[in-house]
Amino acid sequence: MYLTKEEERMLSGEYGEYVRKAMEVVVKVGEMLGAERLVEVVHAHVSGVSIFNIGEPGLHLIEEMAGAGTKFSVFTTVNPYAAVDAEFSGKRLSKDIINKQMRVVNALTRMGGKAFTCAPYHIRMPKKGEHLAWAESNAVLYANSVAGAMTLREGGPMALMEAIVGRAPLAGPHLPENRVPNYLVTLENVSNGASAAAAGYIMGKYLHSPDAVPYVVGLPRREEYVRLFLAAFGASGSSPMAVIEGITPDYMELLAKGNFQDKLAVGKDDIKQYVEEVVADADVGLIGCPHLSREEALRILERLGDGVKRELWVFTGAHVGADVIEALRKKGVRVLVSQCPVVTQLSLLGIESVITDSGKALHYLPKLAGVRAHLISRERILRWARGE
C-alpha cells in the first residue's frame, strides 16, 4: 500500500507506541480490503461503548489505547453508553456495572471523544463527498445514503484506530464505483415510522451482503421515517449504503449507472407481520433508536398533553437542548441523555416487555436487553403513555 511520508512516520513509531499500533492495524485492514492508499477523514465516529456489548475485552482494549495520553487526531464522536440513569420499580444497575461503564466513558473522553450519541449527524452534518471513518450502522447508512458523504461500515475498534491516525483505507463506499445500486427495492404502504422500520428490516433480511446497495423506491421524504428505515436495515443487513429515490444526493445519476441483480417488493402484508396495532404487553415505551433530533423531541413534547401516566423512556444526546430535556422530564418522561437502553440488560431492572417504534431496537432488545419487544407506531406509544 502507498503511504505518505507522514503516514510512514506514524507507522515507524515517531508519534508514540499507540499511534504506531493504530496505524499498523489500519494499514493491515486496508491491505486486506485491497486499498491502494489511505484517505484523510474529517470526522470519526466510534461504536462499541456499552459495557454490556464490549465487556472486559473492549474495556481492556480501549483503556490500553487511551494509555500514554493517546489523543484522537480528528473530530471524533462516540456512541451512547448503557442506561446508567435507568430505574424501574426502584431497581438500578449495580455499582460494579456502572463503574466499569464509566471507565469506558472516561477513557474515550480523555482521548477526545465527544457527544455520546448514535446519531453523530445531529452533532455535525457531513457534507457531500466528505470522507469519514464511521462505525455504528445507522450512522454509516445515514452518512452515505442521505448526506452523500463517504465511509466504510467500520467496526467499532477500527473506527477507534482511524480516529487516532485520522485516516481510513480508500475502499468500499470511499470509491464511486462501489456506490452504484445493484438491487431494486420497491416499498408500498410505508405510512409511519414503525412501518418504515419494518420495511428496512425486511430489506436487510433479503439483502444481507456487505456489497448490496439497494435502490429504494417508495420511502416518504420524512427525516424520522428515513432514519428508522436505515437503522432497521442496518440491524438485519450488512450493507453500508442505500440509494433512496428523492433523498440520496445524485440519485438519478446513480440510478442511470445501476446494474440490478435482483428486485424486491415490500408490501402491506410483509409490513403487517412486524408492526402491531394494539398494546397488549408493555412495561416501558422506548423511543429514541436512533437518538432523537431536537425537532423529533419537540414533536413528542407537543403530544404529551398533561403528561405521561405510564413509563415512557426517551433517549437522545445533549444536542436536543437542556430546555427540551427539562420540559420532557416535567411531563414525567424519563430522558436518558447520552445513553441507550437497547444496549442495556433491562432484565436486571425487572423489566419484562417493552414497546418501541424502532426496528433496530426490536432486533436487539430480546438478545441484548433480555426483554420481549413489540414494534408499534410512535403515535400509539405516546397515546399508551398518556394512559389512553
Binding site: 465487556g55 454509516v140 467499532g156 477500527m158 438478545k367
Partner: protein
C-alpha cells in the same frame, strides 16, 4: 479419505494447516446478540472454540468486532471463520484477535455445506478439505 468441498481465499492468515470440527450456519450470523465470547459459544450454532465456523455473511452491529476479538481474549477462539463474503466489521475483529478468516471463492452454495456440521476438516492451502 480426504475430499475438498470448497475453494477459499485467505483474508486474515492462519498457519498452513487449520483443522477443526465444522460448524456450518445456513443463516447469516449476528455476532452482537448471538456470540458469547467468554463461553466460546454462538447462540443457534453451539460451541465454536477450536472449530471451523462456516457461514454465509455477518450482519448487524459494528460492535460485533469486539465479540469476535472477545473469543480470543478469553482463549475460546474458533480455529477459523469461513464466510461467503468478508465485511470490514468481521475483518477488524479477526485482525485484533488473530483469528484466521477465509472467504469462500468457489461458487459452492452454502446449502451444500450445511450437512457437514460435525465433520472434521482442514484448510490446506486454498482448499477446505474433509479429513474424516
Amino acid at each position: 479419505m480426504s475430499k475438498a468441498v470448497a475453494r477459499l481465499k485467505r483474508v486474515v492468515g492462519g498457519g498452513d494447516n487449520v483443522c477443526g470440527e465444522l460448524v456450518v450456519a445456513d443463516e447469516p450470523i449476528s455476532f452482537l446478540g448471538d456470540a458469547v465470547p467468554e463461553k466460546g459459544f454462538i447462540r443457534g450454532l453451539g460451541d465454536v472454540a477450536g472449530r471451523i465456523v462456516v457461514y454465509p455473511a455477518a450482519i448487524g452491529s459494528t460492535v460485533s468486532s469486539y465479540k469476535i476479538y472477545g473469543f480470543s481474549y478469553y482463549g475460546k477462539a474458533p480455529a477459523a471463520l469461513v464466510t461467503g463474503k468478508v465485511d470490514p466489521v468481521t475483518l477488524i475483529g479477526c485482525v485484533l484477535g488473530g483469528i484466521p478468516l477465509y472467504e469462500i471463492e468457489e461458487p459452492i452454495e452454502l446449502p451444500d455445506l450445511r450437512g457437514l456440521s460435525g465433520r472434521r476438516a482442514c484448510i490446506v492451502g486454498d482448499l477446505l478439505v474433509l479429513v474424516d
